[in-house]
Structures are given as structure tokens and as C-alpha cells.
């Protein structure tokens, strides 16, 4: 080594060791934090290659978009119900009395550069976020991924869904426009309907009788700080458990209860998932730019004595609205008290039961099957006909209720009386889930008879006719990617050796073996 500090490049590299600067930095970090082993295990973490594992990623990435666009909105939105005369840039509103919340949302939409894009992206991301959570949950359910040891993550996931529904509803209320205000009014009445404590809860939440002046500022801090912080924490816990317990996987060649087969975190999965992040953000951005959503400047300021004809919540609240519409008008009144079952049952008791059932499902199933074993291999839905039927019935119920939230639209569209539509839904809400459940159960049993290679890629078959008129079929030769599917899994290799002919010149850190 030359002493004058003039080292050749090669000498400098040699001094750092085989992996150059990267190796040196890792050494320094590992001296202090001891993370080399864990880090390497993380890079080797295996992600099963199945499209259904991507649903959770869609939810995660739309949450990231929600936070990014939400922060932008906080810079302009003013959470206050203080009324003043509007002097902003939107001409039709000038001279009217508006709240700061409404005026700031109108202005952020119409005069802040890219403001409308951000606001619409935020709203679209919320709709996609909740949709992705629901579909993700369906895949966990139907494949039995919630079974021991993953019950806790099922619980966390459900809590994420409940809190996201709440945050979506709250966000929808923030602009203080005519439609969102009506939603809040209904929510107040729903809280009021709870026996014994309802009126106290409603007064504490709203700071007094409806509407009060506090609800928007209170909902704001819940929407931008409290619930997002809880959501972020729970998402962290969700992913931590995922890493700790590792992924489930579908049964298949080389896949056992004792391993996970797929592609490694680095580089394959990292590339794929970063791409998804960009694509999902891209889709939300296109929607935010092209597809108008919640044009609040057209609805007008919320006023307690005004109402719009098209009262309509976001899609994920539709099932509750539907339940409220088809409920018979029962109310108990006596002994100086009133219990409005017409609101209490569909809007409090019913969703409570649905979510309790979801939370309890892993325990319920364990009790009925007596199965307390650890499961890492997933079920095919058809192999668990009862569970699959139950899930199908639940989905059918939800969609029927969603349909019931459009009774008036349907009556107009089909030119039938509202009463007929109402009674149709009162019947359907019982019939459709039962039929869907039985039908699914039957189909599962039928499908169980099918071959094991359902869903696998089939090899092409070539059919030839000989001169004598004889037909013969021959399977084509295996293609490289068929063959690929057949390979037995190996651990992620630590070193990759490059044949002498594969590189031009020497590369630092790559072992070269003679061919």
C-alpha cells in the first residue's frame, strides 16, 4: 500500500473489503445497532405470489394517499362554524351567509391551485381505501387466513375497518354543505335513540342541542389527528404481526405448513409493490382530476331548516341507510318514556350485531370445528362450504341493504310505487342471503368433485389428422414458464456466482467461477 495516500482505485476497494463502501457502511451500522442478521432476514422475507395478497396493499397505499392529500387540505380548510357573509371568488355564493368551514372548502376547491384535484383525490382515495379493506377482508375470510395463530390480526383489521368507516363519515361531514349536514342531523338522531344514555351522549358529542357550534371543530381534530394516529398505529401493528407470523400461502408444490414460498422482499417484491404504490396513486390521481365527486359548491351551505332532494351518503354508509329505510315504524311509548326502535334497531343494534359477529367469527368457528391447530396453509373456499356459504350470505345481505338505500330512485326508474319497492326489499333482505348461502354451499360441494388442477395453467394441445383420417392429440412441449412453475423452491441464495463469460471485467463483490 502506498503511504502517500495515492492509492489506486483497486487498492482502495481492497481496503474496504469485498463489498466496498456498502459493506463498510453496514459494518459501521451493525457495530452500533446489531442489525445485519435481522436486516438480511428481512431482505429475504418471502411474499407468496398470488394476486389476492395485493388487496391489502391497495388499502395501505390509498391510506398513504389519504394522508398526503389530507395534509394538503389542512393547509386551507378552516374548521369553524362561524357565520359570515361570503366575499370569496365563487360568484353565486357572494353575499350569502356561510360558515368558515363551507367557505374555505369552496375556495380550496375553486381558487387554490390544484386544490380541487387534491380534494377529489382525497375523497376518491377514501372510497377506494374502504373498498379495498372490505375486499381484503373477504379474501382473509374465505381462505381461512384468520385461523389460529392470526385471530389477533383479524381483530386489528376489523377495527381498522370500523375506524375507517367512522373517519370517512366524519370527513364527509367537514365541508358543512347541505348534504353532509343532513348526514350529521341523522347521526344526532341515531345517538338520541339509544335508551337511557342517548341524549347525554348526543349532548356531550355536539356540545349541546343540535346543531351547536362545536361539532365541526371537534370532528376536525378527530378526523385529522386522533383517528389517523390510531389508524397508523394499528396498521403498524397489523404489519408487525404479518412479519412476525409470516404470510399464509395456498397449498401447492413444495409448500408446507413449515415454509413460505414465493419471491423475496429484495429485489423482486420491492419492485412489484413500489410499482403498485405508483399505479394506485396514479389511478386515484386520474379519478381526482377527471371524475367529479362531492361538488359541494353546488349543494350550498348547510342550514338546519333546508334539505336537498338527493340526500345520499358515501357508498360504505349505504347499507345503514337501507336498513333505516326498510325498518317498520316501531316506537315504544309509555310510562313517560320513548324508545324509537325504528332508529335504534337498524342504526345501532343491527350494525352492532354485524360487527360483533365478525369479531367473534374466529372463536365461533373454532368452537364449531373444535380445530385449535396452527394453520399457515390456506383453505380453498370450496373446501369449507359452510364458511363460504356464511360469507356469501353476509355479502348478499349487505348488497341487498345497499340496494334498499335507493328505494326512491328504483321506484322512479321502474315506475312502480314506493310501497311495492319497500315491501320487495323487506322480503329480499331475508330471502337473498338465504338463497345466496344455500346456492354457494351447493356450488362448493359440486366443485369439490372437480380436478385438483382447476385454475392451473393448462398446456396447449395440438390436434392432428393423419392421412387416413385418424385424429391424434399431443401435448405441446413444456414452455420455459410452465417449467418454471414446476421448480422446487430453494432458499434465497446468499451469493450469486457469475460465470466467467457473464460479465465484462471484474465487478466488485461478485464471485466469479469458471464455467
Amino acid at each position: 500500500m502506498s503511504t502517500a495516500g495515492v492509492r489506486t482505485k483497486r487498492e482502495a476497494q481492497a481496503a474496504r473489503g469485498r463489498y466496498g463502501r456498502v459493506g463498510q457502511i453496514i459494518g459501521e451500522i451493525d457495530d452500533r445497532l446489531g442489525v445485519a442478521k435481522g436486516g438480511r432476514t428481512f431482505l429475504d422475507k418471502i411474499f407468496p405470489d398470488h394476486w389476492s395478497f395485493m388487496l391489502g396493499e391497495i388499502a395501505l397505499y390509498s391510506f398513504i394517499v389519504l394522508i398526503a392529500t389530507g395534509i394538503f387540505l389542512t393547509l386551507y380548510y378552516v374548521p369553524s362554524q362561524t357565520l359570515s357573509v361570503y366575499h370569496g371568488s365563487y360568484a353565486p355564493l357572494r353575499g350569502q351567509k356561510v360558515t368558515a368551514a363551507y367557505a374555505s372548502t369552496v375556495d380550496l376547491s375553486l381558487s387554490v391551485r390544484a386544490g380541487l384535484l387534491m380534494r377529489q383525490m382525497h375523497h376518491w382515495a377514501a372510497d377506494i381505501f374502504i373498498g379495498a379493506i372490505v375486499i381484503h377482508m373477504a379474501r382473509i375470510f374465505f381462505t381461512g387466513a384468520f385461523r389460529k395463530p392470526r385471530e389477533l390480526n383479524w381483530t386489528i383489521g376489523l377495527t381498522l375497518l370500523v375506524l375507517s368507516l367512522a373517519n370517512g363519515f366524519i370527513g364527509y361531514s367537514l365541508p358543512d354543505d347541505l348534504i353532509s349536514g343532513t348526514g350529521l342531523r341523522i347521526m344526532y338522531s341515531i345517538i338520541l335513540s339509544i335508551p337511557f344514555v342517548g341524549s347525554y351522549l348526543a349532548f356531550w358529542l355536539f356540545g349541546g342541542n343540535y346543531p351547536g357550534t362545536l361539532i365541526i371543530p371537534r370532528l376536525y381534530i378527530v378526523h385529522v389527528l386522533i383517528l389517523p394516529a390510531i389508524l397508523a398505529g394499528l396498521i403498524g401493528a397489523h404489519l408487525f404481526l404479518l412479519v412476525r407470523q409470516k404470510h399464509t400461502q395456498f397449498p401447492g408444490k413444495g409448500r408446507t405448513e413449515g415454509n413460505v414460498v414465493g419471491s423475496p422482499m429484495y429485489p423482486t417484491f420491492m419492485a412489484k409493490t413500489t410499482g403498485y404504490l405508483f399505479m394506485i396513486t396514479g389511478v386515484i390521481t386520474v379519478l381526482g382530476g377527471l371524475a367529479q365527486i362531492n361538488p359541494i359548491w353546488q349543494f350550498g351551505q348547510y342550514q338546519a331548516d333546508k334539505i336537498s332532494y338527493a340526500v345520499q351518503p358515501d357508498w360504505y354508509m349505504g347499507w345503514l341507510d337501507g336498513a333505516m329505510r326498510i325498518m317498520p315504524s316501531w316506537e315504544f311509548a309509555g310510562w313517560g318514556h320513548t324508545i324509537p326502535f325504528v332508529v335504534l334497531l337498524p342504526a345501532v343494534v343491527f350494525p352492532g350485531m354485524i360487527f360483533t359477529l365478525c369479531y367473534a367469527w374466529p372463536a365461533i368457528e373454532r368452537k364449531f370445528t373444535g380445530d385449535n391447530a396452527i394453520h399457515h396453509l390456506l383453505d380453498r373456499p370450496r373446501d369449507r362450504p359452510k364458511r363460504t356459504a356464511a360469507g356469501a350470505a353476509m355479502i348478499a345481505l349487505m348488497f341487498t341493504l345497499l340496494g334498499a338505500s335507493a328505494t326512491d330512485v328504483l321506484a322512479n326508474f321502474f315506475h312502480v310505487s314506493l310501497n311495492e319497492v319497500l315491501w320487495t326489499f323487506r322480503v329480499l333482505v331475508f330471502v337473498v342471503p338465504i338463497v345466496a348461502g344455500l346456492f354457494t354451499w351447493r356450488i362448493c360441494l359440486e366443485m369439490q368433485g372437480g380436478g385438483a388442477d382447476i385454475g392451473k395453467r393448462k398446456r396447449a394441445v395440438v390436434m392432428t389428422r393423419s392421412a387416413t383420417g385418424e385424429y391424434r392429440t399431443v401435448e405441446t412441449e413444456a414452455q420455459p414458464d410452465d417449467e418454471h412453475e414446476e421448480l422446487p423452491p430453494i432458499p434465497v441464495p446468499v451469493h450469486i456466482e457469475v460465470g466467467a463469460g457473464d460479465t465484462d471485467g471484474e465487478e466488485v463483490g461478485v464471485r466469479t467461477v469458471p464455467r
Binding site: 338522531s189 419492485a271 399505479m279 379519478l287 430453494i490 464471485r511
Partner: protein
């Protein structure tokens, strides 16, 4: 021994680590034509770069949200498509495997933690029962006291506010601009939202005071027994708060003589005391008794004879 555990043993013992050659089929690209895939991905990246650059221009020029969203969205989408395709087609697909280690700890470890909890609690903590009791009651009382701010700081107690409106005997009916309603003001079939004079622009109380005034005819209308004087000169007034979930009952079907709530389609017949004819509303809308003063203006004979709006537990039934 599985391959994975072999690997770990080798690492622990500092042995030379297993290697794979680049020819291993596990490392091969997942497409038959890697060059073609590379070219396609390059094009995706080019489109992505164009998209985001265009967004920059659109932002500087302050173009419409349409252009902003389209350029940025497609730009990000194509960048993402390129990255994903790179990962999916040109990076090793394996299949690779990772060993799953049993999650549970050794039996001795389980015993040790159980012993620590049970034995230390039994031997060290439980002996001081008095201390435990005192600490427990302190915590318990704090738990209850901590609820107080929640109970009394967050909002007032409901009291009678839910029951009371500002309608009094003699209240002058005014519209939202404060104009009193003269008996000649509405044609038959006309409808207006009214408030007690002095409260028409209080955005807190209009929520409960709001009342619909309909001119349903030209002579007194009796909507129910005992209400013979309530609707003079064809003017009927009902609370505008739906008895279902409190939406303003904002639609009037003149021909059917129905008040309709747009929220869940409750329909109230104005001629027979606003009894709900359809929909989830469980109760009629309360009727406000009216009279015409000497100057010909509409006034309330009294307040509502029952609480307005949706039901709640303390709502009295008499």
C-alpha cells in the same frame, strides 16, 4: 434438515455460505423474451417521465384539474407499471422458500414467565393486602373521577332543551327574512317555513323551531278532534322536524296533500293531523295551533303540545 436450517447453521458457524450460479433457473427472467420486456418497460418509463413533466407544466400554467389529474395520474401510473413489470418479468421469481419457525417458545421459557408472574405475585405482592386495597380504591376512584370532565365539560346536560321550542302563546309567525305572514300572504296550495318572531335568524334555534305553514284551503280546517280552531283560514302549521330521524320535512306534494321527508320517504297527510301514511316515521308531526290577530297576521295560540322531532328515552308520552 431442510435447506433453510442448513443455511442458518452455516451462518452461525461462520462456514462458507451456499451460492447459486446465475444459470440457476430460479434466477431466470419470467418471460421468454426478456429483451422485448425490457423495451416495453423502457417505453413505460418514457411515458411516465412525459406525464410527470407535463404535470409540472400544467401546474405552472395553472391549467384545469382535468389536465393536472390526467398528466400526473398517467405519469405515476406508467412509472408504476414499469417498476412492477420490471419486478414481475425481469427479476428472479424463484420459487424461493423461507422456513417458518414455530412461534412458541421452549417449554422452560413458558414456565419461567408463568412462574415469575404467579410466584412473585403470590409471595411478594399478595402479602401486602392492605396496600393493595388502598391502591386499588385510589385507582378506582380516580377512574370514576376521570370521567367527570367527560360528563360535564364536553357539553351541558340535556335538561328540557330537547323538549322546548321558542313557540309561545301569541308568537308571531315570520319567514326566514323576518317578514310576518298576513292572512292574504299565501294562495291556497302555498307553503312557507316559519319561525317565532325574533328567532328566525338564530341558526341554533331554527333547528328545533322550524315549522311548515301550508295554506290548505280558505276556510278553517279541522285536522283532528279537539283542534277545531287550530287552522284558521285554511292555514295549517306542522313542526318541520321529521319524527323519524330529524330531517327537515322539506317536500310538499300539493295534489296528494302530503308532506314528504326526502331522507327516508316518510309521508304525512296534512288533512288528518300529519299522521304518517308511509315510511319509517313513527309519529305524526306535532301541529302548531294558530290564530289570526286583529291586524290579520298569523300567530301561535300556544307552543307545541308535545316534543318535536325524533324519539329519545326521556321524551314524555303524554
Amino acid at each position: 434438515m431442510s435447506q433453510d436450517t442448513e443455511l442458518e447453521a452455516a451462518m452461525d458457524a461462520d462456514l462458507p455460505l451456499p451460492a447459486t450460479s446465475l444459470d440457476d433457473p430460479h434466477l431466470r427472467e419470467a418471460v421468454r423474451n426478456p429483451e422485448g420486456a425490457e423495451r416495453a418497460i423502457a417505453w413505460f418509463f418514457v411515458l411516465g417521465v412525459i406525464g410527470v413533466a407535463l404535470f409540472g407544466a400544467a401546474y405552472v400554467q395553472n391549467w384545469r384539474p382535468f389536465t393536472l389529474g390526467l398528466s400526473l395520474g398517467l405519469g405515476l401510473f406508467f412509472l408504476g407499471l414499469g417498476i412492477t413489470a420490471w419486478g414481475k418479468y425481469l427479476m428472479p421469481q424463484g420459487p424461493f422458500s423461507e422456513a417458518r419457525h414455530a412461534l412458541h417458545s421452549a417449554r422452560a421459557e413458558r414456565e419461567a414467565i408463568a412462574a415469575a408472574l404467579v410466584e412473585r405475585t403470590g409471595v411478594v405482592v399478595k402479602r401486602r393486602r392492605v396496600l393493595l386495597g388502598l391502591l386499588g380504591s385510589g385507582m378506582g376512584i380516580f377512574g370514576i373521577v376521570a370521567l367527570f370532565p367527560l360528563l360535564r365539560s364536553l357539553g351541558p346536560l340535556p335538561g328540557l332543551t330537547l323538549t322546548k321550542t321558542n313557540w309561545r302563546r301569541g308568537s308571531l309567525l315570520v319567514d326566514s327574512n323576518g317578514r310576518a305572514i298576513h292572512v292574504e300572504a299565501l294562495e291556497p296550495g302555498g307553503i312557507v317555513t316559519v319561525f317565532p318572531a325574533g328567532f328566525e335568524s338564530n341558526d341554533q334555534t331554527v333547528a328545533v323551531d322550524q315549522t311548515v305553514l301550508i295554506r290548505a284551503g280558505t276556510t278553517a280546517i279541522v285536522t283532528e278532534k279537539g283542534r277545531s280552531t287550530w287552522a284558521p283560514a285554511g292555514y295549517i302549521a306542522y313542526s318541520k322536524l321529521c319524527t323519524h330521524a330529524g330531517c327537515p320535512v322539506g317536500l310538499y306534494e300539493k295534489l296528494l296533500r302530503l308532506l314528504v321527508c326526502p331522507c327516508h320517504q316518510s309521508m304525512f297527510n296534512i288533512d288528518d293531523g300529519a299522521v304518517p301514511e308511509f315510511g319509517p316515521a313513527p309519529r305524526p308531526l306535532p301541529q302548531l295551533p294558530l290564530y289570526i290577530d286583529r291586524a290579520g297576521f298569523l300567530r301561535a295560540q300556544s307552543g307545541y303540545d308535545q316534543p318535536v322531532g325524533p324519539g329519545y328515552y326521556e321524551r314524555t308520552t303524554t
